[in-house]
Symmetry: D2
Subunit: 322 residues, 4 copies
């Protein structure tokens, strides 16, 4: 069986309860570009994106509809169907704006994922600098999923979809608490964080530089909503990225992220961090708020409703929590 | 006779021929805030300004209506009237929006200047970061006047108005080609450049940092008008500022400027630059376009029409011209 | 009696217990320039300083020897002596490297202050960019003193030395908890913070931009001493500055500070902040660690030993403390 | 025949005539890290590089010894040998520090290239921020070769080594004047520029952000060698990168480069630029100095001496030259 060739993380679809409030947050303050707008949904993108990368869909309850990856071509979708059949994973074909053929699956860990090969693309805004708004968000970078089975997900995404490990957190018993895995030569397309799950921990955008992240803080402060700033700005030990975590009006967590490194070398050795190394979370020593470890967005089940969540056997928070 | 106590450069009033085009340039691209708007004029300011600092007034021909300074209080206006009377300088009282008592004078070198003490002020936008647009222009910083009599102007503004010299350019014969003079402890409120004049060489705004100047270049490029960028970005030797010169739709030259230094110390020694030291113009060695040395905005005469211009006895361009 | 004309805050002399450790912190990591070095002291400056602005003097216990202001000329020193005589304040003449005539006084609140007119100056390093080290600290900006008598100090420094109020924090009963006062047209030369005192809350340097402050965090993290980072980076509501507070090996607090605003206008209205407005401390909503409110450096008494400290009648911490 | 799997551009070896002068430039000013040093050579790297990426070797005349690519594993070296045999390209095995098995070839266009699979790696300096020097150069990014046969090189590197086209410049007759080709999902590992050749046009490093490039200009200016700055800083139309071109003491051209975009998508459409579109060279409209089009570094022939150069049939400079 040919292994599907996954290109990269491609989009997220989030359910939001108040589309007007979401618009104020994502468009008026964060400056994301509205590629399409319907009565019930906003299709957003950064200035480098040639397709929408974040869809906000109005719903009675906030949650994650699915997280989608691009694959190399249509044959890879067939390979994914074969994988789903072989492993008894639920799947179906869906239609989505600009993605005429979207394969919706449930991974073995309950995460609603989707795959597509050829989207309708649109001229980017990269060099339309006069149209950039807010801090100038560039492109989708990665997603982070909370799961009670980090090691299991790393193995499955590695074995079946060819994801490679960049960094990971391990305790003294060799148990994996978190992992960063990738397909496109960056630090990660997908991060996995130990915890009750599956839930979405965050959806992340690439930023032009650290100053644009500082400007985001100022913009949120100017709009009198500093409570949207959950954690940061700071410098991650893991990934080396300059980061900021913010919460949207429904509590979905968005990371603004820049300055990581390249992982294309075949001899790249995954970086191991000890669970109790405080440099892991941030090089600067700032404590992480408890909410960051405990809260996440629920995920839609394949047949409707929300995926049942399971607690993790790995209990306890790292030491550096406020 | 009490010497008038001048506080700082305060505003410029420029005649423009196409107010809509000016609006696109100054408001849509540069992001200046419109404090007032009338059928014939735009009153603009940066995010730190509590009053308008640049007025654009529609007129059949582009030029400079006047350059205005704030004085400490009303008594200083009386002192200025006494000075005008003593020296036979033309003056009159004018009314201007938010400046109920504006003293319009002509300095001995033909420059249309104005003075006022107490403007109507408005809440600033400094911490309304969500309302900042474009590169986030901060405040008026200085003006630069071309004149065939740099030394005469330095002496008069020093003797009569208390301006102090920060830096100057001199040739081997000890003749002054350019000077930077100040009242508020910065490098300059007023710069004087040798050349046919009097003309306005440029009007300058303070920027939050060098990156905001880089963003201005990108914004003008995005709008497909790179020809608005006349010189820079670069690092001045004089003033140490990071700078950019742009030209508005009427050809008025605007400098975006940041990162100079403090001059409040009474033992501050004016910095002398040799005319042929290329570090003077820019530390990085880039050549200066000829237009930058030759072009400027005409100035309104006291009785109407334009001030007669005189060629300078100091002829020739510095060596580092394109 | 002529009022002394104070120019600006000029230098601090701190006692440190391990000069080698201080050197690693201030020189190797922060990149301050060593203007002079003796067996028992380091004389440091930023790249714009033409004289040393921070002296570290080896002593058995850490503390503050004095905080010094420049005055306009020698006659102002005489005026200060007259003031000391009139008010019964202790004073004496001291000699200090590059300051041949230093007037050491004790202000009425127990703060060891000094004044001088004409220092020996040295070529600055402003344009010697190839010699800048670390984050490129620019110049001394201000000092902050903890005192149980903020209002008293504001009045005395205002009445006797001509300091002007920029911003202040007040509770519902109209009691002043903190104040920012200035002589040079910036937000402050001297800040006053309510608390047990007199103690030095912090000594502050001006930075070239926000990114240089981010780099400082990275440098301290690289050197494996994130515990030196006490608070920030962040954006103050008061002063609008981008800030970082760090602690030196003796616990002296240093602020790195940039992006405040100009206060030269005579009609500038001091900005009032309510004590319980969290935007005051930081626009971004980050909580302030308790140590920042409680810890400070002891100050040397005029006759030797440490100044006796007094608790403040204004008790309690603001609400936004970790 | 299996196609060799090239990972990315990996290193350059440049001949320099004065190793001490090169050290001052690359190490003292640009802050590159010296990984190894021998009597006759310096092995340099950026803070993210785990191996040396620029070797400077003392020689009687300046030139390029070779440009090297990493391949996926040793089998790819065998595939390259097979390619060389099949096409009659000269090759030999060489030893180089930290690269025990280096395949030196001559491509069909006379360019001295080398390939290797597994280097000896070293701990990176990415998070040793206290050890970063100068502007903080990050990693090797790409090389640019001048050739009279741009189209031929694009075809050969594409057909034989799997390089993909990102952007290209074409005239009205459909002739390719320049091309950017890549293996690792960035804009380019290798750029090809029309002109007499083969010669090295430049060797490029990735920078942390645009401000670090501005700091490079200041550092070179501080060291009184602005003549090292040949072109920029500016914003490329092609690649969207913020760039600076500098010349080392032997005239080798180094580009400092940041802020391009990601090209991993299989449906990425190469961007075509018209030869006479000035936005191609720079979005900001600055003219390019003639030297940038005309000068390059000679390349070593396989059997010693320099590769014979050929003029291009495509004659004439673009219009926007100083």
């Amino acid at each position: 069986m040919t292994k599907p060739n996954v290109t990269r993380i491609a989009h997220g679809v989030l359910y939001v309860t108040d589309l007007a409030a979401s618009r104020r947050f994502y468009v008026d303050l964060l400056g994301l570009n509205v590629l399409h707008e319907t009565e019930g949904a906003l299709y957003l993108r950064g200035v480098e994106d040639r397709e929408w990368t974040l869809k906000l869909e109005r719903a009675p309850q906030a949650g994650v509809k699915h997280l989608a990856y691009r694959v190399h071509d249509e044959a890879d979708l067939d390979a994914l169907v074969a994988l789903a059949e072989a492993q008894g994973l639920p799947y179906r074909w869906e239609e989505e704006l600009d993605r005429p053929r979207l394969l919706r699956m449930q991974d073995p860990f309950g995460v609603p994922v989707a795959f597509y090969a050829r989207p309708v693309t649109h001229p980017w805004l990269l060099q339309e600098y006069h149209l950039h708004r807010g801090p100038g968000i560039v492109r989708v970078d990665h997603v982070n999923v909370m799961t009670p089975n980090v090691k299991g997900m790393v193995d499955w995404y590695g074995d079946e979809l060819g994801f490679r490990l960049s960094e990971y957190t391990e305790d003294d018993q060799g148990r994996m608490w978190a992992a960063w895995i990738q397909r496109r030569g960056s630090v990660h397309d997908l991060a996995l964080t130990n915890g009750r799950g599956p839930r979405l921990h965050h959806f992340a955008f690439w930023m032009p530089d650290a100053m644009s992240i500082i400007r985001t803080c100022d913009i949120l402060a100017g709009a009198r909503q500093p409570e949207s700033i959950e954690r940061g700005p700071g410098r991650h030990g893991i990934s080396n990225a300059f980061f900021l975590y913010i919460r949207d009006p429904d509590g979905h967590r968005i990371e603004l992220y820049t300055n990581d490194y390249v992982t294309v070398d075949p001899d790249f050795q995954p970086i191991r961090w000890s669970l109790n190394d405080p440099r892991r979370q941030t090089l600067w020593g700032a404590k992480t708020p408890r909410s960051w470890f405990e809260e996440g967005s629920v995920m839609e089940a394949f047949g409707g409703g929300w995926v049942g969540e399971r607690e993790s056997d790995l209990e306890g928070l790292p030491v550096h929590v406020i």
